[in-house]
């Protein structure tokens, strides 16, 4: 009975994910597409939960749905209203696809169902056994963290480099512009910020600490911290001018730099890149993760701000010029 319900939920998830993906690709309204993308991310997180991958579910919910959603919405604000609706040609073609849609949705669902019910496909365990076998040689009890920071540390190192490069690319496009309208902030929003910010920081620290033995870790902690920073941004809090220079750049690059230093140190010490001394002490992994999560939070938030800090003496992001404010 429980198994049947599980299959039913999986089927529902697979169908709605496919339908959502199609809707968000087919719509000509970019705002609608963004909202659908956020919904898609949330459902995707549910799918990861169903697949027993809570690490991925956390990352998908916070980064895939939350932060990327904000990123897309702010990007949409920068576009002029004419560009928001991408003109689609050939509406008749879309209609025939609309007929095809149920078939498109049902096929992957059937495939999932087949995979779930066939014992052959389910029994392929992949690399799980060999990872767990070597777990005691590293400073962590959680297999996912072990893979991220030890077995496949090279991938993680390059991923953080990609994030850093993305912000460098954003900064090279144009100086920062004021991002939000000059309307006064609602007191309820300030209250929510006061309540949620400590909770977000605490949860982020908890996830970071938990990463060594249970689902959690640098990316999830960093993304939660970034959510807190975005709340601060939305409430018109700014980085003071004296911190938007070298301090901000060090914060952005810090995670990658420390990771790289450890990698290079291992290269000097043991002759292999990222081969941690003593199989990787837990304090070493934890310090890499702490630096990484701070950097990831800063990187995601600066990507949302979009544009480089123009001058050392101005706040980042700058205030919008408000004619009413100048009079008073």
């Amino acid at each position: 009975m429980t198994l049947l319900f599980g299959h039913l939920i999986d089927l529902l998830l697979a169908v709605s994910l496919t339908v959502l993906a199609w809707r968000l690709l087919a719509t000509s309204d970019l705002f609608k597409a963004t909202v659908l993308f956020i919904a898609f991310g949330l459902l995707m997180a549910l799918a990861w939960v169903r697949l027993d991958a809570p690490d991925l579910a956390l990352a998908e919910a916070v980064i895939g749905a939350g932060i990327t959603g904000v990123l897309l919405l702010t990007a949409l604000r920068h576009l002029d209203s004419g560009a928001r609706v991408a003109r689609m040609s050939g509406r008749s073609g879309r209609r025939s696809l609309r007929v095809l849609l149920p078939a498109l949705g049902i096929m992957p669902a059937l495939l999932v169902l087949l995979c779930l019910s066939s014992p052959h496909i389910r029994s392929t365990a992949g690399l799980t056994a060999s990872v767990i076998e070597r777990l005691d040689q590293i400073g962590t009890d959680h297999p996912v963290t072990a893979v991220l920071l030890d077995f496949r540390a090279y991938d993680t190192l390059l991923e953080t480099a990609v994030l850093l490069l993305a912000v460098v690319a954003v900064w090279s496009l144009h100086p920062v512009r004021p991002i939000f309208s000059p309307e006064p902030i609602s007191p309820a929003q300030r209250g929510l910020l006061r309540l949620l910010l400590p909770v977000l920081i605490m949860t982020s620290l908890y996830l970071l600490w938990r990463g060594s033995h249970a689902p959690g870790g640098a990316f999830q902690a960093g993304a939660l911290l970034a959510a807190g920073l975005l709340l601060l941004l939305l409430s018109e809090q700014r980085l003071p001018g004296r911190w938007s220079g070298m301090f901000l750049r060090l914060l952005l690059a810090g995670g990658f730099m420390i990771f790289l230093l450890v990698a290079a140190g291992a290269l000097v010490g043991t002759g292999t890149l990222l081969d941690y001394p003593g199989g990787g002490a837990s304090w070493l992994l934890l310090s890499i993760e702490a630096a990484l999560s701070l950097s990831i939070a800063a990187l995601l938030a600066t990507a949302v701000i979009g544009g480089r800090p123009s001058d050392r003496s101005t706040e980042f992001p700058p205030r919008r010029k408000d004619p009413a404010g100048e009079e008073g």
Binding site: E183, S186, A188, Q189, G191, L192, L195, L196, V199
Partner: protein, 100 residues
């Protein structure tokens, strides 16, 4: 044991009815303020009932506290976001719907 499961089922069914009512309201109500009203009812009461139903089934007190905390956070952020959307709609000059 039976009483516990039956209570959970009843609470979950009640929650489902709230979510359904909220969904119908969201789809059918005439303006953004009415829709927000329908939606927040579903969020607050529906989720609250689900949380109570699961607290009855919780193994430990910290599991129960975590569920309560989830409800509380959704209550606070849901109410604030509804307020912010309504505020923005008013600023944009949308007038609340009136039945004449």
């Amino acid at each position: 044991m039976f009483l516990r499961d039956a209570t959970t089922c009843l609470l979950l069914l009640a929650a489902a009815s709230f979510f359904l009512a909220g969904l119908v309201g969201l789809l059918r109500f005439p303006d953004v303020f009415c829709r927000l009203h329908a939606l927040t009812k579903a969020d607050n009461l529906g989720l609250g009932l689900v949380c109570i139903a699961l607290i009855i089934q919780a193994d430990s007190w910290h599991g129960a506290v975590r569920l309560l905390l989830t409800w509380f956070l959704v209550l606070v952020s849901g109410a604030t976001i509804a307020h912010l959307i309504a505020r923005k709609a008013l600023q944009q000059g949308q007038t609340p719907w009136r039945n004449r």
